[in-house]
Amino acid sequence: MKKIFRLLVILLLIFYWIPVRAQLPVPNFESLKLNSSPGFIVLEIEPDNIQRPGSPSKFIGGILNSTINGKLKPNVAFEISPYHLIYQKDTSSKILETDFLQRTGFFKTIGKTLTISMATSESDTTVFGKLKPGTGVGLGVRFILIDGKINKDLKAWNLTRLKLIFLEGIEAQLANLPNDTASIGLFYLQMEREMKQFESISYHNLDYYGYSLKEMHDSLSKWKDEIMYDVAVMKIKSTKNLDKYFGAEVKKLGFEENSLLQKINAKKNPLAKEGFMLEFAAGQASVFQKNEWSGMAHAKTTFWLTPSWRINFSKTDLTLFDFMGVIRYTINNKKDSVDIDDYFDMGVRAQVTQNKWSSSVEFISRWATDVPATTKKKYTYRLAMGIDYKISDVLTFKFSFGSNFDGNTKTYTDPKQMFVLGGLNIGLFK
């Protein structure tokens, strides 16, 4: 089993670097973070215990060093997104609204964000209690229950674009309109009709644009009134004048849209969602004792919820503040004495992301439902700090240090031990 594990590590290293060099541009910063994959978390070798949900990649692999049984060991994990693997669209015609901005229904969101992960490591003899040492294998799933909202710049761009599209349509009609009173009269009527159609379409697609009905109504009705006032009250009586008026408005909005697009594209993660998100995850760990197939034993099953909030501080750059929490329940294999009872975890995490850097601190408290008579405490905790640095679009370096949970209820009163972890996350495909 050890040989198979080593071979897997070597193969993954070779296998990764070839496609990585061949097709550089891949996922964004967040989708490269594999550290908190349920597979790693259930094996308890994760450098991050809480992570903000993000858009899943088709496939992502990671190799991470961690201290297991007092020695530094490499651990391997990968995560796949069935939705993105099955619906491999022609990316040359990806549409922003439907593929990125649209908020989908509850079940569709789950389907689109569901990922399956697998991780392996040498089994930690404290974490896995009385199970014999061997290889630990973690399997996990996670999906988003509540999605975030699109960011302010995208909202502003969407509104400008909507107005521009409408006015361009009007301008296109004016260019061919006969210059007589009857035609202008008909044009006014048509414009009113079009404005209504335009409003109805805008209200219908609120999810694309990130607006509430009231916000959209307030933004459009004021603007519409201004346009109608300019056109009607200012008594522009010839198509030439109308053409000039709409030409100037189109030009003004065109500049606005151009500068918003420049600002959006200059950001490191322009489509990053903001606001509240809620993710569900579950994992199951097994240990192949003595690295033998026949030695496989189920160790634990874990379920957790991760609520998170995001605020973007910067108007020009990417400075994101994330506040996250976790509520987790772990069912231990009591029959094989992984531990005498189950665990309940609650914790918080704060994270700041600025361009290529991301730093975080997290605290999680764990309560055991029962402890051995010799153990005085019913709880343990984890306090960790970490730094991520995005080396390239496909490579992120991770460093974290702190104290982890005491492995099982027998050790809750032992002195806390420090851990230091470092590793690379490597993206394979889009």
Binding site: P25, V26, P27, N28, T91, S92, S93, K94, I95, L96, E97, T98, D99, F100, W157, R161, L164, I165, E168, G169, E171, A172, Q173, A175, N176, L177, L186, Q190, E194, Q197, I201, G254, E257, N258, L261, Q262, I264, N265, A266, K267, K268, N269, P270, L271, L318, D393, K430
Partner: protein, 140 residues
């Protein structure tokens, strides 16, 4: 005589005649627009204003119309088709300037037979407007 490309990029369009062969005078004529972005890491948002003789025949504006019914060939004689396609591009992984180019495709079909199709490449300006002003003519 081959039809001329009626697509203009970011400038007012010049009226361009589009010949519909007379054999299609009783066939339904339809319009299809397409956009292809040149590099995989970019995505686009597009909207299309389409007016046939000042009547808005595509109020929903998005996505690109496929086989949008215009009218029977004979009914289109001397009618004016005015179109603007507005295409904006965003790079989801960010940190990019200038914008990636897109290819714009316009095709007109009679039933399931293609009469003609045209294409135009954008520049790196973002957004880009593809404009056309087509006058239909029915000829042998």
């Amino acid at each position: 005589m081959a039809n001329q490309n009626p697509i203009y990029l970011d400038e007012p369009p010049v009226e361009t005649e589009f010949i519909i062969p007379k054999k299609y005078n009783k066939t339904m004529i339809s319009l299809t627009l397409g956009i292809q972005i040149k590099e995989n890491d970019w995505v686009y948002a597009s909207a299309h204003s389409i007016y046939l003789d000042f009547q808005n025949c595509y109020p929903q504006k998005t996505p690109e119309p496929v086989d949008l019914i215009l009218n029977y060939g004979s009914m289109l004689e001397n009618q004016l088709l005015s179109m603007i396609s507005h295409v904006s591009r965003i790079k989801p992984s960010g940190g990019a300037s200038p914008a990636q180019k897109v290819n714009y495709l316009l095709s007109i079909t009679a039933g399931d037979k293609l009469i003609d199709s045209f294409e135009k490449e954008s520049g790196t300006d973002n957004p880009s407007d593809f404009k056309s002003l087509i006058k239909f003519k029915l000829l042998e």
